[in-house]
Symmetry: C2
């Protein structure tokens, strides 16, 4: 029995997560318990709490977390990001932030030169270090002498394990290629650590092809030649930016799934659509649940249900291929169709 | 008499700079002296020197620097970047790194949904602070305990002056809009400084519209809606990444010009194409000099020759509009055509 903690969150989060659960229920009937946790902007406004320690301890007892979306413009920047999302990533040592990018048949890219099927890569973004460490400070606030700092912290331990994960994934893929993205010509200290760790791990994977790109060049190539990528490994902040470009060139953040993974399974991993709570369309049943359902597929794969994961992603592929561009959709209807396809 | 220091540099740098000088000579006949400085990968290999203090002192005596491209794969990462390019930006306090993006008539974007003329914005990238400060270090190198840091340093002084420059530019443009890009939800210290400085400066420009975007969202919107931007102001590293996306969506880095500007004119400003030295096509006379010539136009504008700057950019517009897509070009012929157009 897999124990899943469900953090539906705010806005469309609740709507799309309901569809993901529907699909999980059908593909693993009777094998999953889902426990809901009320976290996000709504709880913060109601109680002032973001993530009580007792809730964190309860979440730790689960096999995985399925998250919808948290956030609302009424919450000050950083409160839910640092206090909830990043806190979970760090507390559960989710060092592999996995973000697959595919241009699915039936969808279209804003790029004129790429056709469905031609983009298929995965970004392995480091999830527990770098500029996300929260190391920084402010002196002389609100005076002309003010200085504010942010520090990027990179350990050999943290860098090497995520690079090793990326190579392992590449080895299981057809093209077997890993691209390291950093900015070694300017961030010479961290860049050198990343490069040296990359060279060391590479020696253990002689059948994997490698390349290096500066982050600015990679941002450009994601637009001009996204077909060239297979597995991209990069640091926390670069990964944040590059995966949004990747989402843009594959038809939008509405289809992008992600996993915050602790490969050791010592702590639960977390799966969530990349999109936010979208307050503008919340409550109307208009949100596309595909990113949440694809996140559920990553969750199933992580829990060892590779076949079930594939059935879910194939159902999504069929759904997308059958859509009429521009036609309106209803969240629950898409969920029902996907559940039916998975059951068939 | 304007004194221009010319750092042609490596690879195609020398070829494209020659065309830019040709055009400057025609548009300001007899009013410019150009002094060449031998800096870059070639000099580094020959003498081991990157930027001797005596050369730095000589450069300081000029009104502006025109740079082609420096770098070569044979030089270790960081040597020329930190030792030459960034050293000049910092030594001459070039805090406005100006990068205009236009989708010129006659060129085409990889984006299917935008037409020539629809993209026209400028990124004002901070040039003297942030993660480019070079503050970082390494402990326990090459052991499992290694840690490497990079620190982003942001001062109220440095942030406010570049934001003020961006508002000033917006006020002189038609749409009068400034977008602040940062990552305030994660980089809370630096993000707060940037936000508060932005709010303070904004009060002095009531006729300028403003918006804020997280860097990941901005990276996405540069692909999905690049038309929405007018003036974008952001930090050093975000600006590095965003301007390469901007170059990609406006037809490539081959057309992108930039200025590293010290608005006080206390020290010389520096103008350079965004592209690199392109060793693969160097010496063949095949490089497109348009980015270098547009950089010369920014140089002319900075030195107070607004009319001449406009004549140069109009010549470039005509050149691009007259090109047959895919037709080969010869560097010197393009330079001759542009010089003739400017003279006419
Ligand atoms: C919400 C924010 C903290 C988060 C991040 O920066 O990682 C988001 O942008 C993401 O990509 O998951
Ligand atoms: C070469 C490098 C130091 C430089 C930068 O990062 O600023 C370049 O990418 C640029 O954008 O001018």
């Amino acid at each position: 029995m897999a124990r899943i903690a469900v953090v539906a969150g705010d806005g469309i989060g609740t709507e799309v997560v309901a569809q993901a659960l529907k699909v999980i229920d059908v593909v693993l009937p009777g094998e999953v318990t889902a426990t809901e946790y009320d976290l996000g902007a709504a709880r913060y406004h109601r109680t002032g709490e973001v993530l009580p320690d007792s809730v964190l301890a309860e979440l730790a007892e689960h096999d995985a977390i399925l998250l919808g979306a948290v956030g609302d413009p009424t919450v000050p920047p950083g409160v839910l990001e640092r206090g909830l999302l990043l806190k979970l990533r760090f507390a559960f040592d989710q060092y592999v932030n996995l973000r697959p990018s595919r241009l699915w048949p039936g969808t279209s890219s804003p790029l004129a030169h790429v056709k469905p099927g031609e983009i298929d890569f995965v970004v392995v973004r480091e999830g527990t270090e770098g500029l996300y460490a929260g190391a920084g400070g402010t002196l002389h606030r609100d005076t002309p002498a003010e200085v504010a700092t942010e520090e990027s912290l990179n350990t050999r331990h943290g860098v090497e394990r995520v690079i090793r994960d990326a190579f392992g994934r590449a080895q299981r893929r057809e093209r077997r290629k890993v691209t390291l993205v950093h900015k070694t010509n300017v961030l010479t200290h961290a860049g050198s650590l990343w490069s040296r760790a990359f060279e060391a791990v590479k020696a253990d994977f002689p059948d994997v092809e490698t390349e290096y790109q500066h982050v600015d060049a990679a941002a450009m190539y994601l637009v001009t030649q996204p077909q060239r990528y297979d597995v991209v490994v990069t640091d926390n902040l670069f990964g944040d930016i590059l995966t949004d470009i990747a989402a843009a060139v594959t038809g939008g953040i509405g289809l992008a799934a992600s996993g915050c993974i602790n490969p050791s399974r010592e702590f639960p991993s977390m799966f969530e659509p990349v999109h936010g709570s979208a307050p503008d369309i919340a409550g109307k049943g208009l949100a596309d649940p595909v990113a949440a359902v694809l996140s559920a597929s990553l969750l199933l794969d992580h829990l060892g249900h590779a076949d079930e994961a594939r059935r879910v992603s194939e159902a999504v592929a069929a759904e997308l291929a059958s859509r009429t561009p521009g036609a309106p959709l209803r969240t629950a209807e898409v969920g029902d169709r996907l559940a039916a396809a998975v059951a068939a």
